[in-house]
Amino acid sequence: MSSSARLGLLMLAPAAIVVALLFVAPAILTGVFSFTSMTTATGITGGAWQLTSEAMGRLRSAGLAAATVDALAAEHYRIDETTLATAADAGVAAATIEELRTRHGGETFDNRRDFERFLKGLAAKPANVAALKAAVPPFRVSIVNVRYETAAAFDAAVAGSGVALDAAARDLVGREAYTGWRWTTANYGRLAASPETLARLGRTLLYVASTILFFNVGFALVLAIATYYLPKGPGAAVRAFWLIPRVMPVVLYVMLWKWLAWDGGFLSTVLAPLGVAPRNWLLDSPVNAWIFIVLINGFIGASMGMIIFSSAIRAIPQPLFYASAVDGASTLQQVRHVILPQLRWPILFVTSYQTLSLLASFQEILLATDGGPGSSTEVWALAAYNTALNSYTGNLQYGMGATLAVVLVVVGILVSLAYLRLFNFAALVERPRIEQ
């Protein structure tokens, strides 16, 4: 390896490490997580075994006989060292405990009434009804809702409950009682089956297409061409002004739009004398919400196209303009026949670049409407975020959110590979000249 190559690897190393750990690894992990049932409830690192009422419901629907499930859920009263110790702690008389230990160790009773009757028959029986009632609970054993940290402990508890299970049933019980995450393809199944999926796709398409059409390309063209025909100073000032939405912190920017739209804000106050009832324009109807979403994103997005188109227009040879002027072309004809044909590639570039950024963007929508009213402005990326990281119920569905993200990631990779094709990658990776 040449010394240049060694130095190159060394200089690339810090970037490679950071990118590998916090960019590439998460990208791969997103794919991995999409095949799990990971949620807040299952935890991230693993789980325990616990026979909850939900697990029993799943067991029943998985075909385990109802009688078996009931038997698993049944409570018993058992006399052994563990329950005796609990009883001693609970204040049961020492004489009672001693008699139970020496004469009745290992006995089991199937219900509370039998056990109480048995206690009343003891030589050292509890002194009164209150003591009797207090003596019963410590002996109650049930595997329901008890948390077992290992599969072995759980299996032992199931075996100890006295319910006869064959190997397949034991596996099933263990699987359903596990509280951690599992490998599953159910997320993709749910995604394919859900009617929301199509609706989200439609909303995302509407969002990306209209923002690009009206602002990122449309309005950006208007700004670039208009400022070209302005004197230098005002032109630069307009461009600098339209860069503000992009440079401004997004939280503040969206807050100002909210002020513009809310029922005590600018629009409502200005329209009040015209007899329009004050309302929150941002959330009062899906159509208005969409208008604001496109405006909010479009005002930010217009600046990139504006800058790229402006420099492309300035790169057009001046003689073309002079020639068209001599031929008597009006300004509009100049725009149509001289400028626009030269902007084909910049427009294509801006369109493809912005498609990708808009597909993945959700910050503005999250801050403005959070997908409302209802879910009428919930685009795909926002759905992924809300599913995995932002739930009112507190149970975040990491696995399902990752599945939604994977769809975006796949689209993202395909689109960015297509760019490389489109924008001539080979020219960008020329070999260094010293080594040639």
């Binding site: 040449s2 010394s3 240049s4 190559a5 130095l7 190159g8 690897l9 200089m11 690339l12 810090p14 970037a15 950071v18 916090l22 960019f23 690894a25 998460p26 990208a27 997103t30 997580f33 991230i44 025909y229 302005l230 307009v238 461009r239 600098a240 002004f241 339209w242 860069l243 401004m248 912190p249 997004v250 939280v251 503040l252 807050m255 100002l256 739009w257 804000g265 600018f266 106050t269 005002f299 990139m304 570039f349 670049y353 993945a360 963007s361 801050l367 990326a381 975020y385 990491y398 990752a402 993200a405 975006l408 993202g412 960015s416 760019y419 990658f425 990776v429 260094p432 000249r433 010293i434």
Partner: protein, 274 residues
């Protein structure tokens, strides 16, 4: 003169299109220093009460100064780290005889175009497991990593404009490639380093979603999360206060933008070349 008329017409039309922005920015300043009676937008008195967050902590919020210090740390650290790492990696990709160079360059390009926010779910889980959740260090590293493809690509662009003759002369005089980079090439791309640093500091200052998800706890909260929390608190809905906090928050960015506007223009234009 028709040209003059044309200019006025154009300016008028752009002015109308810019109206929402002009109104929002004007009232950002006006409302933070004044009070107006309900039902009207015209202020009737000057007041500093909306700026009370500066000397008293708002209920349920951390101190504004903690948040400000955190934001400075976050933006400064991401900027420094990004410039340091991109300047070496960019040079390696632009000028050194790196093995798998095309692969690395392609990787940088694909990642540059990659929808990074989609990674946030996995990043959240990774930080949870590694214990970097709710720390500034964690969110600084993540922000740097996600900005690195852009940083490397820009730096490569800046290095590409440095004449090869400078380096060839240095190598012929017996300097190592590293010395050539340090002493001859780096000074040539100083404007590029500055632009990338400025861009990255502004970007870090404005960043919302990463700190919101990865470091929301009050002692590591940055200003964007502070302001967003204030706005989403339905019990205290006060746009005058929001605007005062917002104005305070945006001041440093405004200063940087006004001073260095021309340098930044090139990067915001999509990040091809400076």
């Amino acid at each position: 003169m028709p040209n003059r008329l044309r200019s006025l017409m154009i300016l008028g039309l752009i002015g109308i299109a810019s109206l929402p922005l002009i109104v929002m920015l004007a009232f950002l300043v006006i409302d933070s220093f004044s009070a107006s009676p309900p039902g009207t937008l015209i202020p009737d008195r000057f007041t500093l009460e909306h700026w009370r967050f500066l000397w008293q902590t708002l209920p349920g919020r951390p101190s504004i100064w903690t948040a400000t210090a955190n934001t400075f740390l976050f933006a400064g650290a991401t900027g420094t780290l990004l410039v340091a790492i991109s300047s070496t990696a960019g040079y390696a990709l632009a000028r050194l005889d790196l093995p798998f160079r095309a692969f690395f360059l392609g990787g940088v390009l694909v990642m540059h175009a990659f929808p990074t926010v989609t990674l946030i779910i996995a990043i959240f889980l990774v930080l949870q497991v590694t214990g970097l959740y709710n720390t500034l260090a964690g969110v600084v590293l993540v922000k740097t990593a996600l900005n690195l493809p852009l940083g490397i690509w820009l730096m490569k662009g800046f290095y590409d404009t440095v004449p090869w003759e400078i380096e060839i002369a240095g190598v012929q005089d017996g300097a190592s490639r590293f010395t050539v980079w340090r002493k001859l090439v780096l000074p040539q791309v100083r404007p590029g380093l500055a632009a990338l640093g400025l861009f990255s500091v502004i970007d870090g200052w404005n960043e919302f979603i990463l700190p919101q998800v990865l470091a929301p706890r009050s002692d590591v909260q940055v200003l964007s999360v502070y302001l967003a929390g204030l706005i989403s608190d339905d019990s205290r809905f006060d746009f005058h206060l929001f605007k005062a906090v917002g104005l305070f928050y945006v001041l440093p960015v405004t200063l940087i933008y006004m001073i260095f506007q021309n340098r930044l223009m090139s990067i915001y234009g999509g990040g091809t070349k400076g």
